[in-house]
Symmetry: C2
């Protein structure tokens, strides 16, 4: 997709966690964040990576993604245990000191109480020098922002709460609007006609997604663009061509 | 994780599809394939990437991943529509001709019948010269294997059926075994003690995953290795240290 009026803003998501790679845990954060960035901020996610909790791999991927995308969002690896090395790795990537963040330290000390503020908990207050906090209304331990990288928790409940906290930090541009046409034909029956529209309107993202509702086959055609007028024009054109009443 | 007895075999997964990046569709294939590769073949997935349906990005990522990993598995983009460009992009990556695969062509011709075998459907028989097929018992259109890259459908039902078809093509090594200890304490309370074991047994993968079952907090500690004897030794050691009866 290309927006000819405004500068396109893009993002990448870096998921840090062996539990996703091993198949033990189903990632839920990508769909949540991508949808939120699309609809709320007009930012399109252009790449997602899942990597293990290995410092060198984190550093390498951060250096690559932060250079290529406007924003990078990481999830995972900011807890209290030995395998939580995201903050330390980010310090290394940005060649900045890994140290206690004063406000994060006092948030955590208040939350746990001085007597139970052990080393694992203190570790969650350490981050790259110069970071600003992303607050965590669920379990106190904050995420942080350094340059164009947003570092957040992996647990979906905490991740989603953190995403709400960053809403004001991202400059809003026109949101991407999507419209869907349902066609009750097999994808391979309609592919040629659809191709014609994809060629004619190269500026619009036209996706084709087959479905099977208990034996009823069909395709959802999803049109996306920031310009509602253009979108409606193409939507109506395709709709009347395929002559299908079922849309949403 | 490092296996000192046998050569480690690793893999990457490349998900090709705007629908995953936009948040419209929740990926389910990574957890299925990673789990299957781990348990059935002893192969660990070391990286996952999600990228859009853009030829240059597919080529670039394939060239990078096929070089760095023993196996690469792709999902998505092998259907009949204009945005299905995986096979063509693979041909370009491998600098080989993009042409009809004879057997794939006749499978599809039989499936649809000659009269309904239109151009979109024919396209699904085109792949890089030299590919061997991955059969598709659900909807006929096959995936394919070229060198160390396995190209499969994105629809989970079809993807999972294709994975079963490739089972014999991958050399089996010792499967990775996992054992889990449930501890009903907060992660930040046990992180220091756990760290000790992670340092002592660096050969074993020790993951720590907090849970919250309706307000009951705890941590699952997951130990993984191919050596069952070593795994049981460390499992029992940690178990008796934490003195928790609830395990699985």
């Amino acid at each position: 997709m290309r927006n000819i009026n405004k500068k396109k803003v893009d993002a990448a998501i870096l998921i840090i966690g062996n539990e996703i790679l091993s198949g033990r845990t189903q990632d839920l954060n990508v769909s949540f964040l991508s949808d939120w960035l699309n609809k709320r901020c007009g930012i399109s996610v252009e790449e997602v990576r899942v990597i293990p909790d290995v410092e060198l791999k984190i550093v390498k991927n951060i250096l690559d993604l932060k250079r290529r995308f406007n924003y990078v969002f990481t999830t995972g690896g900011i807890g209290p245990t030995h395998d939580d090395i995201t903050a330390k790795s980010l310090s290394r990537a940005f060649k900045t000191k890994y140290e206690y963040h004063k406000e994060a330290y006092s948030i955590l000390e208040n939350y746990y109480g001085r007597a139970r503020f052990n080393d694992g908990r203190k570790k969650m207050a350490k981050m790259p020098r110069g970071s600003s906090l992303i607050y965590n209304p669920v379990s106190a331990a904050p995420g942080f922002i350094i340059k164009n990288v947003f570092v957040m928790a992996g647990v979906p409940q905490i991740f989603e709460a953190m995403v709400q906290e960053i809403s004001l930090d991202i400059e809003s541009i026109d949101p991407i609007i999507s419209k869907t046409i349902k066609i009750f034909k097999k994808e391979s029956e309609i592919s040629e006609r659809l191709w014609k529209y994809a060629n004619r309107y190269q500026d619009i993202s036209i996706g084709s997604y087959p479905f099977n509702y208990s034996g009823v086959f069909g395709v959802e055609i999803v049109l996306s663009h920031t310009d509602r007028v253009l979108l409606n024009k193409v939507f109506n054109e395709i709709l009347s061509d395929f002559n299908e009443p079922n849309t949403n």
